[in-house]
Symmetry: D2
Subunit: 335 residues, 4 copies
């Protein structure tokens, strides 16, 4: 870490800072420049609070040389991670499509959608049982009952399943769930992340609406630091000033995360745009940008199930899209 | 609610939508305009999912006429709410200053700060026991032990106390805490908000980094819908493109929330700016804009306790600031 | 346009507003709802200032039914516009790659890059003569001299050229330029846009850093209202809280603009990301999302010309990318 | 400037970079750390393009030690600048209120407003003649005729005047204007800024909707580098995700700019919020945060002149506000 001091800094204050840094077990090299002094810190700076040092009166700026995430960092793990989900693999060239309805409504609905998306090429089934809703008066999902129905569809089709966890106390019910999804609103629910570090099951971690890529990796690190290294990162749109789409899908997150980490990267174009007719172009764009997987909402009767339908594709639309996804995926693999 | 349909909409689709809306128990008035049809919905539209109706192919836009928050809404509760905290009152002209250290470090530290801020005019003591940190490798607070020390300072000074809750399972330990703080990262932790609705204790709810004022009120509504109506709203800065300050303090939130809700509004300039020397001007600005209270970090030895010190005022600086706060507060009260 | 009034509005104020609206030549239909009155305005509401009506005390909200841009609006021009540039066509399935160096440095440099990108499949040559720079102390481009060199490269290769106009008074020098580029910082330089409406030459209009898609279309409308209908829209990244890339490329702008307008849409991944190694994935993503063209920076010696090099591809890298671009473009055309 | 190289960088590439930097006239000190090498650059780094060096493959990050603005920089001009406007002074404790209508409509209107705001304590008269409008179909101001009317009001009241310049070619008409206003949309119209550097007249430069404080200072630097050092900075709200107010007024810009520069700082709460009833609290907050002046819209008949009225105060409302402004201003001056 490099700490740049202001011009004409009081020597006492500088010495005070140096001593304090040395007390933290660091060695401090001072080099005097024309306009400023620079402190080079050698040792384990991971525990220093950069933001706070930066705000000291005598400090001009602080520059972190190494990122504070270790387990998720590509520097220390140059090889892409492959995550096993049942018989499937995700990451390092292994591409998978997750598909299914936003909310689970009935046994018939979830099983029928499952069969249709499976026939079209989806390999993992999604379905919402516990639903995060902005309003307390909105439908909160079928909850435990929905989970039962999803497990039934798993049995019927053999597809591994993914569903969202909103409360750590529900974990015992998630034993047969193959991937646990953590929603954008809980990306920095640190107490929950710590608990997820104690289990051994893949976690799909969605990027928060206003979180940087490095914060996403720090949240992954909370899980990995506990011993659970099977984290899948998911870009699902960030909040910007533009209101035409629900959020702004940040596809540059794919090549950026690829540099920073070895973890697999999945994109959710359905929640990012909130509009079914925008899902196909953004799904194709995500594949072209190098995503390891996609998560797409599909509903067998969007017209009737009005509330689910708006951002969901029909199984027919999904089939057309999946074909194009696989064709573009092939183009990328050509050398 | 008003639903504007697109031009030249297929009649069948329109009828389908109308029927579906009527099935939800609403009466639907259709008026034909030059460029579009407009559906006026009468009845309880609170359960309709606006975003999703908006994304239907035949729908141009949807306009909500009444806000979906009921308990927090000034329309239905025109009078300002006053919240009692021990012998203190907050709201409707009752102004309070919350002050104390970011992290509780020792009995001596918390008690000494408490006495000094009390002498300067602070009426409520803050102190962090459980700390939300971006990195799993950063200091996570003294946790239960810190809570004990805070309670000791409460006994010593008689000041009511506020501290952050990060995990619903910790609630039993918070019995003697006067105000429970919910941090920005947990503003949409809905499962936690529901639990807070079941208790009877004031909740200070911080606005999320990327949450609109209406979303803040929907989160307050989660608590109030459960029966706990003692919610204090806290503006603490939003995330924008500007990086000079840690976040951008949105003081227009004060007059905006004043219009929308009857709940008391508190401002935290310490976390918003992250820089001690910016706290006084922003604290004074918040008072001038009409805040009901302030939450300010004060540390008795910011130089030594380096990590706490950066955004903390010394007790001396706090005293100078508090004097000005009271002077501006008086100017506002003059008719 | 629909104006929703607040509950329990004073009748006098309501009548005053209605009269004023009628004075503007509109007919006003009032319908009384359970919670509010709604005014439906029939007639030419294009000249009303929505934002200002919205802020009247008695008004709850205003909803525009039709967008205020007419010439650029797909509703009134359902067919995609095709723009002719020399012998080339852009739009409605006609895909073109614009390539060339950020700054023109010498005759040798621009001519060599031109020949290399042409050989690889680029059809339009870009090169900066007048350069917008944040700092007055940075290199401002070769200006008029650079323009001469670009024209020389045009003659040599036969490629049509595009370069940025920063000052309306320079227009006479741009006679042989095939497409005039208006940079993001000048997107709302209305006096310049009006002048561009008077000429007859394609304009490539870049989206401002913090401008919505509708504002981009309003700026296109400034040009088109003057009689110049040859506007090409360019997405080049928006400003968000994320700092890993220079800006956040908003690829959902492609399907969104496709719905709103008939004008061709081009994407500039070089300026959006600011990092050469991120250009290929984002270029491919833009094609997959349906862009009509790409604008890519290529430099024949990025290592030497350090300042240009950072976000520029080498001709070799460009060739590899162009091949993939054409392959993905073919996949999209398959039915 | 400090350039941090990546780990295990190829020595050839490093030498290449060092040589290139030395060719730019800089001396380069290399220090090897545990995890990286650091290049310290001594000399005039003002002309280096930081962003571009940062994006080189071998570079981890770049840290600028000194800000690239020289003339506007407080480091080199520790004393606050005082700007003379007629007999008035602005800056360094000299506080002024600018007031007047958004658009000039008639001689009677502008003169009457002028007299009323003057009586209430405003010292500088504002009025829009050339109006920036998002839509080409909106009212564009009375233009040259409006300017005449404003000059008439200046004669009548003796108040210095400020109005917006949108086109450098209009400059000859602005000779008797006391302060030239540059709007947010033209903050980075560099060709215009350069021309303004050649005249000798105070310029009020508004912060762009999505521009950082440092970019605002770089734009001021464009004017100052030309020799015109009389620049007044104006905060008028930035674009964020929040839509309740038109923009988000960033009052932390006041203490932040105070640290960075010696130039006077004015706040425009009318355009920032777009809502008349929010102007008073935000105006008072700006004063409490330490602004050198305010710019407030006042209209003598907001109800009739509907379009102007929405964000304008009546003269009566302005009088009440001005009284409180002066009272808070006094509190701040008390030691």
């Amino acid at each position: 870490m490099i700490v740049v001091l202001k011009q004409d800094v009081d020597e006492k204050q500088r010495d005070h800072l140096r001593e304090w840094l040395e007390e933290q077990g660091l060695s401090v090299h001072i080099s005097e420049g024309e306009f400023c002094s620079v402190l080079g810190l050698i040792g384990d700076t991971g525990k220093l609070d950069v933001e706070l040092i930066e705000s000291l009166d005598i400090v001009e700026t602080v520059k972190q040389v190494s990122d504070p995430f270790k387990s998720a960092n590509r520097k220390f793990h140059p090889e892409d991670t492959i995550i096993s989900i049942g018989n499937l693999k995700l990451g390092k060239g292994n591409f998978q499509i997750i598909a299914g309805p936003c909310s689970i409504e009935s046994s018939e609905q979830i099983c029928q959608v499952a069969e249709e998306v499976q026939a079209a090429g989806a390999t993992i089934l999604r379905g919402g049982a516990y639903k995060p809703r902005t309003s307390p008066y909105d439908f909160q999902g079928l909850r435990a009952e929905g989970l039962e129905l999803l497990l039934e569809a798993k049995k019927r089709t053999g597809m591994p399943i993914i569903t969202e966890l909103m409360n750590v106390n529900h974990l015992p019910k998630f034993e047969e769930v193959d991937i646990i999804q953590i929603g954008a609103r809980n990306m920095q629910n640190h107490e929950m992340l710590k608990e997820l570090g104690k289990i051994r099951k893949p976690i799909l971690l969605k990027r928060g609406l206003a979180n940087t890529l490095k914060e996403l990796l720090m949240s992954a690190e909370y899980i990995m630091a506990g011993g659970n290294e099977e984290v899948i990162l998911c870009e699902r749109g960030i909040r910007t000033f533009e209101t035409y789409t629900r959020n702004t899908l940040d596809l540059s997150a794919i090549p950026a995360l690829r540099e920073l980490t070895h973890l697999p990267i999945v994109v959710d174009p359905s929640h990012a745009t909130g509009i079914a007719r925008m899902v196909p172009p953004m799904a194709l764009a995500a594949v072209a940008a190098g995503a390891d997987g996609l998560m797409i909402e599909v509903h067998n009767n969007p017209a009737k199930a009005l509330c689910d339908g708006a951002q969901s594709l029909t199984p027919e639309q999904f089939k057309v899209l999946a074909d194009k996804i696989f064709r573009i995926s092939e183009v990328l693999k050509e050398k």
